[in-house]
Amino acid sequence: MELVERIISNPVMMEYVWKPLVVILILLFIVLTLVAYLVYAERKVSAFIQARLGPMRVGPYGLLQPLADLIKLLLKEDLIPAEGDRAIFKFAPIMSVVCALVVLAVIPFGWGVATITDINIGLLFILSVSSVGILGIILGGWASNSKYPLLGALRSSAQMVSYEVAMALALVGPLMFAKSLSMTAIVEAQRADHIWYLLYQPVAFLIFLVAGVAETNRTPFDLPEAEAELVAGFHTEYSGFRWSLYFLAEYTNMLISSAIAVTVFLGGWSFPLLDRLRPEHPGLFTLLSILVFAVKVFVLIYIFMWFRWTFPRYRYDQLMDLGWKWMIPATLANILITGAIIMIGQETLGLTKVTGGEYGERLVVPGLAGKAYFIGMAWLVLVPLTWIILAIINRRSYDFNLRAQRQIRLPERPATDDVFGKV
């Protein structure tokens, strides 16, 4: 008895087991509820965009719809294809959802206690874990032993490989200012500098946004599950709760993508003028910081949804085109030009200084003149230069020359074939 008590009240256990467990449970509860309501939000947003009402029956304004959906999904029959690989088929959605949830550990939802952990390789951790999550999709598509899921899985893997690169490279730009991979340090850098990195790095933000949409398999990049072509893509054969795990993973990924974008580009939980509260009312500040973070994330999620319900879907080869011919060159150009801008600002003009602090050294632009220089350079030089570089690289592509595209892309018709004869 005493032993048990000692184990329970051991400060090491307290610090490394019980406290994290409680935090994890609370976080999971909140996030999973949130994700359920994200589905509701998606349905409502799509309905309003389409001049409809959306779910209205379960509860007032359909607010209990996620609950009803959950019950429905739990009660549904769990089908496994007869010729499929049963073990992998069952394992794949779990893998997808676990990877999505693990990432939540390092996201700074707010100041202080609201950040669960802060590891100094936060961004790398997120990028690496979330690329493992794609394995769940590939395995699920493969294990279904069906052609549509297989096609979806293959599309998904190719898409992930190309957009992961663009996503990671887009983050390099802001990191040059923050000089840290720790998520909290990035937020602190922006807060201390009274700036959002969106202003310094518009190109990187745009590319990150697009890559984030692509990462989360949403229209216009929802090729893995393109419902018109591949029925439902990789989860065609899934049903019931396993299907909902994929769904959960997708929406969690959307949450994570926007959370990273908010942290890196939009100042995370910080907000101008809010800092004054910190010394006097730390509790209130924490709460407000969570709120600020949530509002920013939801604005981005709304934009994701808005994209989805406005745009048509890319074709597979166009998606690859966009990834490799536009996004990756743009990120590389962005890194190069940003480096040059920082060099000039730092060495020639002396507008910046590197300071150390709680979270290691970072680049600080103290004066208004320095800020004006960096913002001006970003919008007046960085954006046009990137476009020009892209234009030179892609001068033959269809975005410039539809006529050329027509000549290039006319399908090669086989002269004769033995299978069906003429027509």
């Binding site: 808005w306 406005t310 476009w387």
Partner: protein, 167 residues
């Protein structure tokens, strides 16, 4: 007239500034106001049905005497492209009040209308000389048993019991 596409510098610049995408997004954003919603909450709110709507069949009665208007002339059965109406007639004697004599006349014995095959073309009501058979505005025809699709004379006169949903 040739529906041609414009390709010029203006368009190229607008593509660089993503204007083609933003314009579309503005349109979808504009429609979000709840006042522009087109949904009719069906079981709560009944949709407006056109006056000439051809829905569930009905056999009309004479509003004064309460007798069926049908004279068993069989025209509707002939007019039906699907041959789904079965009119059974019987010849009965009755007392003619005007002359006070006993006369013989055809009366309706049974009327069967198979709604499962009905195309709601309206030929039966067009051809009816006494406006007895009529396609009403009732459109809720779902039924649990397949044999209940065959509407008898009684069902045709009184309508069928449809559950009324309120929410």
């Amino acid at each position: 007239m040739v529906a041609h596409r414009r390709r010029n510098w203006k368009q190229a610049i607008s593509r660089f500034l993503l204007l083609d995408l933003i314009k579309g997004m503005i349109v979808t954003f504009k429609w979000q106001a709840p006042s522009k919603c087109y949904t009719v909450q069906y079981p709560k709110v009944r949709p407006r049905i056109g006056e000439r709507f051809r829905g569930a069949p009905r056999l009309n009665r004479d509003p004064e005497t309460g007798e069926s208007l049908c004279i068993a002339c069989n025209l509707c059965a002939v007019a039906c492209p699907e041959n789904l109406i079965t009119v059974t007639e019987e010849v009965r004697e009755y007392l003619d009040e005007a002359s006070g004599k006993v006369k013989k006349k055809r009366f309706l014995a049974d009327y069967l209308y198979d709604t499962s095959r009905c195309m709601f073309c309206g030929y039966c009501q067009d051809v009816c000389p006494t406006y007895a058979i009529e396609l009403t505005q009732e459109f809720e025809l779902a039924i649990y048993r397949r044999k209940d699709f065959a509407w008898t004379w009684e069902m045709l006169e009184n309508g069928i019991d449809q559950p009324v949903y309120t929410r």
